[in-house]
Symmetry: C2
Subunit: 269 residues, 2 copies
């Protein structure tokens, strides 16, 4: 069997425990190439960098405060690391043309520190990178954990991560579709649930930053509300109940149900 | 009749001809409040600014090289301008909580200098802002012109802009839906066509930036290919034929057609 090629990026930067965990796990399934932002790019969505050059470098780790015991065991295949000064989407684009020597059999993004369920996926650089990979027709998965901790315990999720990745690696995904996988914070997962995006909203988003010279300046913060807490078929419900939430996403955002009505009222010429 | 409130932002910044044109046109339909980025934010997608404070200021124009003859006539209603140091989505979020004194009857974004048809909408700050407004349940429209010129002639599009805006202002839009409107570069529009997102891809995206110290640095550039040039029901086809392309977008990206199959293979517990 040919060795599989797995491409990895994230939005928390190459130094994050989440991406290092993912790289170690994926090296059990195939050869891994990582191109990740050189520092955190939270909230990057599908943004790109059109206004200045983007740098690409091989990345080498040096001795520091040793955290290697937090990582799962590496697999038998090699891992190569690169960093990029751009966004997560830039990482996918630059990997495609300047780093990878073949089309990846699988692309995974994360593990994000913070969940990307419901409407939060629109802001997510983790999901943004997966959307970009999907546009390149690479089977792609976003992984996120509902915890903003810097060094969370990812070990309860290893099996689910490998199960979903192995499925996509062997079966692929339909064109224009990718997977958004979110984990709850639990000692033991109750299982996996496939669900749709919950409808939700962010509010109370701006906190005064107390500008020293009296300008109006605010930190973006806020709280999320699930607008349909009783619906049992959503990603958010699954998370709340201690399940891994898997949501297939489609990149064609056309509202097909509204095409005919709009044709009637707007078309001319 | 109560005076309507119209909120405007863009991703080219408050100084762009596109947003000034839109503000003048919309002031014929209602009171206008603009909160726009303080400089260009092209390719911002749905990105947000979680890592540093965002500044908000009232914006005042001073004399410069006079370009006022490029603008359409103002309407009878007032226009207020603000700038924000964040992204287009930040502009919507900060307007909602710190600027607007009521829920807008309409939100419009643009006119973007450059089209946002097909998959390009995923990277678009113009569309990103409209997605954010839609999450806030404001009826919202993104306008973009297929021209990167700084001072294009927007006059061929005034009537279509007002027609679509008037329709949405009076009829609203279904929940979670917004409109993506793109204009071709023509002296005279052939009419309006309602169509779906074309499937397309960007390639040849990185140009060597010739870093002075030999690092690997690249400009993001590239060319777009419509992957279904013969399909006559797409936004891209309409643009190519000289029509205004109107595409209704839906913010729920769930791939509903894949839910059942994935439940069968992935669910457990």
């Amino acid at each position: 069997m040919l060795m599989k090629l797995i491409f990895i990026t994230n939005d928390d930067g190459v130094q994050a425990l989440g991406i290092r965990t993912l790289a170690h796990l994926m090296s059990r399934l195939g050869r891994v190439v990582v191109v990740a932002p050189d520092s955190a790019r939270s909230g990057a969505g599908c943004s790109i960098t059109p206004t200045c050059p983007v740098e690409l470098s091989a990345w080498h780790a040096f001795d520091g405060q040793d955290a290697n015991d937090l990582l799962p065991e590496k697999g038998e295949y090699p891992i190569e690391y690169y960093t990029c000064s751009g966004t997560p989407v830039d990482c996918v684009k630059i990997a495609s043309e300047q780093v990878l020597d073949a089309v990846p059999d699988l692309m995974v993004s994360g593990i994000n520190h913070g969940d990307n369920a419901s409407v939060s996926l629109h802001y997510s650089g983790t999901v943004g990178a997966v959307i970009e990979a999907t546009l390149k027709r690479w089977p792609a998965i976003a992984y996120s954990l509902r915890s903003m901790e810097k060094l969370p315990d990812f070990s309860p999720y290893y099996d689910a991560i490998l199960k979903v990745a192995s499925h996509v690696l062997s079966q692929g995904l339909p064109p224009y579709e990718c997977l958004n996988v979110n984990f709850p914070v639990v000692d033991e997962l109750r299982g996996i649930r496939v669900g749709r995006m919950a409808r939700g909203e962010w509010s109370g988003e701006w906190a005064d930053a107390h500008h020293p010279h009296g300008k109006r300046a605010f930190w973006l913060t806020g709280r999320f509300t699930n607008l349909e807490p009783d619906s049992q078929d959503t990603d958010y419900y699954a998370l709340d109940k201690g399940y891994t939430a898997v949501t297939p996403l489609h990149l064609d955002m056309t509202a097909y149900g509204s095409l005919d009505k709009l044709k009637g009222v707007l078309e001319e010429g």
